[in-house]
Amino acid sequence: MAYYIVSFGSSLYKMTTAGAPGTALTLPTNVTLNTGRVARMAVLGRTVVVVNQPLRGLAIDADGVVRPMGLLPPTSAPILSVGAAGSLSGTFRAKYSFAIKDSDGNIVSESPLSPQSSTVTLTSDLLTAKFEKSTESQVNCRRLYRTITNGSTFFPWLDVDGNTITQISDDLSDTLLDDIAAPDELGPPPGTMPGTYLSLIAEWKGRLWGVGNIDVDTLRWSGANLLYAWPTDYSLDISPIGADQFGITGLIPRRDELAVCKRNIIWKIVGEDPDSFEPIKVVEGKGCYAPDSIKVIRDIGYFLGEDGVYSWGPSGVQCISDEKVRAWFTTDTYFNREKFPDAFAKYNARYHSYELHLAAAGSSSIDRWVSYDIQSGQWYGPHKTDAFTPTFAGEIVDGDGLAVPVTLGSDGYVYLGNQTTIADQGTAIALEAITKVHTGDTPDITKHFGELAVINKVETTDGALTIATECGDVSEGSLNPRTEKTFYAMLRSARQRFTRVGPGRGLQLTFAESTVNQGCEIHGYEIPFHELGRR
């Protein structure tokens, strides 16, 4: 059964599918969460990586143990000397690293190697090495490497468990050294140094990819299946360098390509390994404004740009909002565009829709969302809830193994979507649908709109569906002046017929229902009319 890692306030929790958050996970010493930033997460090798919000990257294993994502290397070389009588002869050099092992003995984090020691010459002696303790509280192993006799390549020598002793003597023979040379993919992730942090993270091709808050134009990646190892040469500068303060604003991992977005340009990374990874420009002039608006759905990436929502797939980058809802994103009528960078999104698998959370015009909270039906290509919304203020959204796998959208609130709760109860935790959902202005294709002719008939799904209770009609002259695309008339429908009937609507050149209807636990499904409506003539 699945579980979730969730961030609330200044704590991380491991939550069950039943919603039990338990106690807050214990963070490593000197690591806190910045409550002003969102937590960005990725999964690699059954371990959750959390960045952006913590003061340093964190790795959370399946048991809920939180460890630093990476470790800084020892600052000084080991000091080698001739030990007591032993079996080694020749010249030797050594390095070592700090490491963290889990309770099963797995290395879950290893720092880069220390500087190389001076050469020591032995004649049937033990090789004695002195080395440092780590200042990291969770380091519980120092891993020593040495060269083979008279050699220059380093091989794993032995693990010194604990973080106490600072000297060992050993004469392990060359033949018993590990056959595999010292790892060359070690390196601290961006954000390991105090005062820095990883701002973006994604998993692609068995590696973690990220961007630090300092070098915002530089894309970094980890070793294969090594969340803690980010060699410094595993990086690409993404042009244009220094063009703005935002740098890379989003990572979109698709099957064979990783998009690297800036605000006005998108590159993609192709290749299979560090030797073949290369950036290819996808589009210029368009980019991603909101890192958390990115969702990859069936190998197509969706994200919020400056002037709308875009998809990136086999057909390239396309705006999916221009045709019908461009005004949502290019005017100040609907949304507070200043808050676009804080937008976040979720995927509703049941309805195959991309749901983008935005701030209403004049609001500083992300208190609205719009939904894009991927199958039909249609937009709906703006939606809202009166139960809480959304602060983040995502998807989880429930106890039945099904993907369900969730919305996190400012009130300390995770809200599960797709509930059959038509209410938001006991708060009514306010439906409001406004139709087109019906003119009978003769907007210049006054008509008398007759009796309105509404066909709807039969509900168990009547509810309070109102149908507000507005009749009037058509002026600048709307009705002005207008006369209003409101009908009250009873949803226990499948068909309802109301009195005559009245005269006007055009007619617009508004359906509204906001009763707690009240379903409301409207299948259609009919209105006869008679043209009265042109004045």
Partner: protein, 434 residues
Amino acid sequence: MPGKINVYNLGSKGVNVVKSPVHLDDGELTKAQNVQMDAVGSLGGIRKRDGMARLNSSVMTGSGKGIISLPLPDRSSYVRRFFVPYDYGGGAIGSNTFWESTDGTTWTAGTRGVVPQQLADYGASLGNGLGGGIWRWCVHRNRFYYPANSDGALHVYDGDEDTDYRLFKVPDNPRDGTPITKILSIVPYSSAYLLISTRDSTSRGRVFLFDVANGTLEQLGPETDLPYLPINPLVFQGRVFVGMYHGAGGSGAEVYYCRPGDASWTLDETLSSARGYIYNMVPFLGELYAGVGVDVGSNGVVMKRDKDTAWAAAATSDGTGAGNHYGPMAVSQDGLTIYGFRNSVSGGAAPTNRIMKSTDGASWSQDYDAGSGSGTSNCGIPWVDTNGDMYWVMFSASGANNGRIVKQSGGSYTVVKNDSANFAGPIVALSMPA
């Protein structure tokens, strides 16, 4: 002229705020707040969107800032279950296998798995001699490895599946003509390997490296014929150390080490005469400590191996009788305190049985009075729990009766099981479905 507006594709063309409301198609809306198009059973109409419900019953502090789902096994609902071998004291074997407890306080005789290796079955050299029950079994990747009493085969109890599996029987030692090989200790070596030590006869044993995934069994240092019983090996400074437990008195026990791939074991130390029974060894503050039992006329002793590989006594008991011992040893979860069980026989001050502790390895003080009865004269390898609690299983050398299980929590000791229960050997804890 009459006309009629018929709209039965309401909302099917979504919201359009680009065109004027006059120019929209019938299926288009200018606003669709909390409107949902349901493609399953009601396409063609609009409906109020699905509701939202709180997932967590108890509020968390602050605003939600991120979430990720892991479709991986969740052990949050698991309960930790302690196991102590059920020992029949050499009598008829029944159906009980282990004493079990989910809280460390209430213990019941259970039937999970199979009857584990019995104390008496190890024979005079161990079971009825000094320090019976000091072998160690282990939980590795949430699987409990232990030997069965019936045929000595290695079993594994899977905590996730709540199921027992028989793995294999360690082959007899070809150096020995008497096939009596039994598993003594099972100790984690790494994430993929366990160390298994065996008693092959009263004076011979071996240590194996067991690959838990692939089932291979590799004898460590196969060219060395280890004298007596290699009990409780451990990994220290990248090497496998093991102390010997002699079957007969007189000579001092040996400490050996080797590494996987070594042809032979290297003798690290031979203790002085009469110090013939190494109970177990633990690393403490970067140095290796061994709890040792002795023969008549000597004191039990804690030996310490310092960085220069020299061994020296760090503490002694005050008795001089046969069976005098200082061990097994354990280290607190924070690594700052070392503990040792001490049994003084003949001539020692009361109490005969006690738990000693030290924070520096040099100065030792009594931490628990275990009385002077025979029922608490021996102790299995203690369990250091994830929350810092420690559990000690005490019993008589000859079998089982009148022992006790002692829990140490926050510096205080509580007897959580104290009657004629039959127990012996090590205590372990396994996470299992509730």
